[in-house]
Symmetry: C3
Subunit: 137 residues, 3 copies
């Protein structure tokens, strides 16, 4: 009825259509979920997705930009995020991740989100994947 919650797909203009039947982000009620993002540059029609570069720094900054684009398209910001899940491929990357992370989030006004960092396998060439859960309102 009129107060039934609607689930909305979020697809920023910087993103290609997802490679399968999932959404880059979805919002339902005050919950916004961002799908796992990697360090691909903004989509160029007719070209395959390309990572921002081979380094952790390049990929992390781009991955965070990709998460942010979805948050903003969905009416949210970093201030609304309650959880970031960070998937790295190499435990040796932890210190550098934190350095980049701290620079990136230096100006947060609200409490920073919680975070879990674990080490997994990712497709060749990708060093980081991040997803996010935001609560709006």
């Amino acid at each position: 009825m009129s107060d039934k919650l609607h689930k909305t797909a979020i697809t920023p203009s910087t993103h290609t259509a997802p490679p399968a039947k999932f959404s880059h982000g979805v919002r339902k009620g005050n919950i916004l979920q961002v799908a796992g993002q990697v360090g691909f540059l903004p989509a160029t029609p007719g070209h395959s997705p390309t990572p921002a570069g081979p380094t952790l720094r390049e990929q992390t900054v781009q991955t965070l930009a990709n998460v942010k684009a979805i948050l903003e398209e969905g009416g949210a910001s970093w201030e609304d995020v309650v959880m970031l899940r960070v998937y790295l491929t190499d435990v040796e990357h932890f210190a550098e991740l934190n350095e980049i992370y701290n620079e990136y989030f230096a100006d947060l006004k609200e409490a920073p989100s919680a975070r879990t960092t674990v080490y997994v396998g990712l497709p060749a060439g990708l060093l980081i994947e991040i997803d996010a859960l935001a609560v709006l309102g």
Copy 2:
């Protein structure tokens, strides 16, 4: 008080009792969380859980059926899911996963959920695990 939210365990008839003190799914308020499901066939009393087969396709279809059983037992459907976490064991399985996934979700009416896919270790013989977060209402 009367408006205190109640947390309810969800145990479909197709499922064995969980192997530890967790629930296959829980619902509290309008949040429904499905625990990590694998490709086990419906439980048969007195028998150990058995995967639907050795292939990614067999296990993925069964895993999705197991997630769905919990959603439905909890009063939800795929249309309510905001996030699916897919754990594979082999990056070579990504393309086939997407093919199966797209077939399975071809008839969704609402926006498809967000998704994160990472590559982890799973118990011997298991190729996929999936959990889900749904927002009802």
Copy 3:
């Protein structure tokens, strides 16, 4: 305005400041998210974080204590948790994890939370990491 939800960082006295710009836990509205916890003993000023011991049992019990400290500091308890994500490093640890888990949660009154257990890489010496999502109210 007056009914805008506020996001609150949760930092129990047992915890060091997070090693990067994230919160050990955050609460916004009725959602409480606990960041990935490991088996570090309560913080001692001037000392590096130290695991409770080398065994799965020692680390699991301490990790659960660390999750619990955050839940309680945020006004929640195990009864409010809808999802625990358990990251192990070795599939051989599953049976022992369940044993410890069942002992630990023997006295739960509400439905136990859902759970996903996967096997990932963690920093050297750490055998388990756990994060939690709670819904209050």
